[in-house]
Structure formats: C-alpha cells, structure tokens
Symmetry: C2
Subunit: 253 residues, 2 copies
DNA sequence: CACGCGGGTTGACCCGGATCAAGGCGGGCG
DNA sequence: CGCCCGCCTTGATCCGGGTCAACCCGCGTG
C-alpha cells in the first residue's frame, strides 16, 4: 500500500487547475487567496508574501509531502491533486485524518508540536505552494490581515475536525462525506455534482471509520436507490438534496 | 437537562485553585502562563496583557458561559471549575465536544465563524479569565511571543480533536478518557490518580459516543478488575499503567 | 409523609456493521 | 500471452454495544 515506487495513475493530472500558467485563477480559489491577493494590500507587502512562497512538485501518487516526526518548517497549500493525511499507530494500523483538495492547506496541526504529527501522502500527481512558517509568522506580525487569516484557517480546521466525531450510521456518514466533498469542490470552482474520487474505497472506509466492505455496500445501495451514479471512481450526484437530507446530522448548518 | 435555574451543587467550589488570592499559583498553571508571566516580557507589555484580561464568574452548574450563535468577542481561560462544550443539532440531540479543566482555554473554534459554534456550560461553580480577542490580536501583532502562543494553542487543540476520532472499543475509549483527564490534571498540578468527575455518566457517554449504560458497565468492570476505585463521581486510578496500556491506541505517543 | 425525578446500575434482547470468504475485474510484467 | 496483485463487490456469519426495561438511590417539593 505504501510502495516506494508507486505507479502514477496518469501521465498528466486530469485536474484542470494543474495548469501552472493560470496563476490568477488558481490563486483566486486557494485558501490563501484573501491573504495573497487581497485588494487591501499595498504592493511591497504583497511582494513579501509572494517571496515566501515556493512552488513544489510534482509528487506522484503514494509519495510523501511530509512524514510523521519531520521538523515543522512550512505549511502547504494544494495547487493541484489530492492529499490524504494519516497517522500510523505503533501496531502499524493506519488512521486517515483527512483529504485535502486544491486550494486547501495542510500542516497546520504541526505548529504546536513543532514536528509533523502525521504523514501527508499524495493520492494524485500533485503540486503545492510551500509557505515557510517562520517567514509567514514574521509577516503576520507586520500585516494584521495575514495574522487574522492564519487564525481563521486554524479555527476553521478546528470546526471541521468535529464533523466526523459523532456516532452515526454508515449511510449518514457516507452521504455527509459525499456532500462535504461536493461543497469543497464547489467552493474552489469545480462541479459540485460530478467529480473524481481520488482515494480508494479503503481510504474512504478508514476515514469514515467503517469497513471497506461497508463502503462498497452503501455506495451500491445509493446507486440502486438512484441517489448517485458511480463507475469506479467517477461519481455523479443525482439527488444531492436527498443526500444532504441523509447526512444533515453531520453537516454544518 | 438544560434547566434555566440549575441547582448549584455546592455553596463553594471544592477546587483548591478557586482561591482568587493566589494569583501567581493559578497563573503558573494556566494555558496562558507563558504568555502572561513569561520571563522575557518587559513590564509595559505585560501590563498590556493584564489589562485585557477580565475576571468573570461565578457561573453555577448548568449556566452558560456562551451559547451557540453568540457573536465572538473573547476567549476564556478556566480559572476554576469545569466546562463542557456541546452542539445541539436541529433534532435537539446533544453532542458533547469536550471538557475543559482549570488552566484550559475555550472559544478558539469561534474565531473563524466569528460566532460561537457551540454552547459552553459550567459543570461546577466556575470562574474564568476573559480575554478580549480583538485586543489580544492587536497585542499579538506587537508581541511575537503572544502570536506564537495563540498559534500553538490553536494547533494543539487541532491535535487533540483527532483523539476520539478512531473506531475503538468501549474499553479503549474509557481507559483513554480517564488517562487523558489524569494527564491534564497532572499538567495543572493536581493529583493524577485521584480526582472528581465533574460530568455525569451521560455526558461521558455522549462525549465518547457510547450509551450511558455502556459507560456504567465499563466502569463497573474496571472496578471489578481492580483497575480503579470509583464511588459516585470520586475516582481513583489504581493501575494507571494498565489503563494506559488499554487506551494506548487513542493516546498520544 | 408520599411522590416525582434525574442519575446510576444491571439484565435481556437485538441489530448494524465487522469479519470471513469467494469471486470478478483490470493493469503491469515476466 | 498468462499470471499475479490491488482493488472492488457481494454473500454469510458473528459479536459489541445500543436499546428497552426494571430497579435503586438521593434529593427536592407539594
């Protein structure tokens, strides 16, 4: 599963955002956008922010962006591709903590321990913006909007962490998972009703604290009920309202 | 359950830390201590921090420190007593998010939404330090150590949120819960082996995503196995190592 | 006093999802 | 080509913990 020479699925990420030339479009959808391209910034400050960003990648499917225990020096915004974060306990069992889509930020939970408390593994061929954290903190001291933005990012992730905490049925969890993904894709300008699941059924199951067989069964049932169309990892939400209804206990609002 | 006129349990909190006269002892154990009394601060800056702190309380058992939807203006450090945070979904079901002991901080998850996303309810007679967040942010911009401290607090809570995420047996959850409490009491200078459970079995069950009956059964079993001594809400850990062993899959390290 | 009520404990039963098992793709490679 | 190996699906069985129910206790109140 964690092969050192993982096979890249595709020669080129199918993700439209991978186009490195389209800076402004990507940045407009990134979680840092309000910090990077906020209208209120004067030019010298924006230049400072730009210069602490470093573009890194590509990482192929299965490669690590960072590993548990690595010293914390930077946070990463996903430019394209998908990432899972996971912890591996001493018995070797994997625990998937989350999936991160283009525009989202990984590494925030490493600030306190000053070492990464989890692995980050690419699921697709992926590119990132790397933000040196010392530089970013220093900048945050001088630009209140940057500080506020970091506080908000951290606090936001606190809120979403409690999403999968409840004891809910497999159907509720799966419906909420699909609608959460849909909402996050929509927030970044992608289709909210058709998208590709970059993660395996096993990863979904692990994340939702279900067995892989259960995930498979629930998806089959959703299909037979006409809620979704699914073929391999290509997904279409046919009745998003019904799914939202199903997952409402887990979803915000 | 959420009576508007809850009966205060005791005329005076039994908590030794409630002594308002013993400032330095309390502050030495508080989560803000390194910000409030850090050696590196010169006096004018420390004075600024002091003046944005406001002591509030007492809150009696059952009273709200804040409610879902309240506009976010401040975070609170528990001076004495215990607090639970909870969300109530639209079907009226309660979801306990966490328990907070003296020295710990509540309200951080409200920064992003700018409104409190949950209720905070006192379980004991409780006192707090109230930190105006706008003032604190402004101070953080001028004093890097304060900014760093806030980042760390937020990031730390991110880490602990993933504690109860896994799918683990009732025994593992309960053992981890008890050892977590023990560690947090110890970190604030209390006994790590004898303490009072301020929360009901129902709250524990809700927090651990178990039925109240299961909590009762597990505690009874732990007692019959000689792991703990428990009488009502008074708890003594007889074999902390065995408990840590049981809960290791859920505990840090 | 009797009574109600919330919290706690314990027993009996049942169900959702884990586990075990078998088989079907599809892609990479000898 | 044929084989293997992940990944996925579907069926059969089992069990941990939820649910229902009965009961106890302490406390506050009419």
């Amino acid at each position: 599963m964690d092969s050192k020479h993982p096979a890249g699925r595709l020669p080129e990420p199918p993700n439209p955002i991978a186009d490195d030339g389209d800076e402004t479009h990507f940045c407009g959808t990134c979680a840092f956008s309000s910090a990077c391209i906020a209208a209120g910034y004067n030019k010298p400050e924006l230049a400072q922010l730009q210069c602490l960003v470093e573009h890194v990648g590509p990482f192929r499917a299965g490669e690590h962006i960072f590993r548990t225990g690595d010293p914390f020096r930077a946070i990463f915004a996903v430019r394209s591709g998908t990432v899972k974060t996971r912890m591996v306990d001493k018995e070797g069992r994997e625990q998937v903590l989350g999936f991160y889509l283009p525009g989202e930020v990984i590494g925030l939970n490493a600030i306190y321990p000053e070492h990464f408390p989890c692995d980050a593994v690419a699921l697709d061929t992926s590119f990132f913006c790397r933000f040196s954290f010392p530089a970013m903190s220093a900048l945050a001291s001088r630009i209140p909007a940057v500080q506020k933005h970091l506080f908000r990012l951290l606090s936001k992730e606190l809120g979403s962490a409690s999403l999968l905490a409840g004891d809910h049925s497999a159907d509720e969890r799966m419906a909420a998972f699909l609608m959460d993904l849909a909402g996050r894709y929509a927030a970044r300008g992608f289709s909210a009703t058709r998208f590709h699941l970059s993660m395996s059924r096993g990863d979904i199951a692990n994340y939702l604290r279900l067995a892989a067989e259960t995930v498979s069964r629930v998806l089959s049932r959703f299909r037979s009920q006409g809620l979704i169309r699914i073929e391999g990892r290509e997904l279409e939400l046919l009745k998003p309202d019904a799914l939202r209804q199903l997952g409402q206990a887990l979803l915000p609002d």
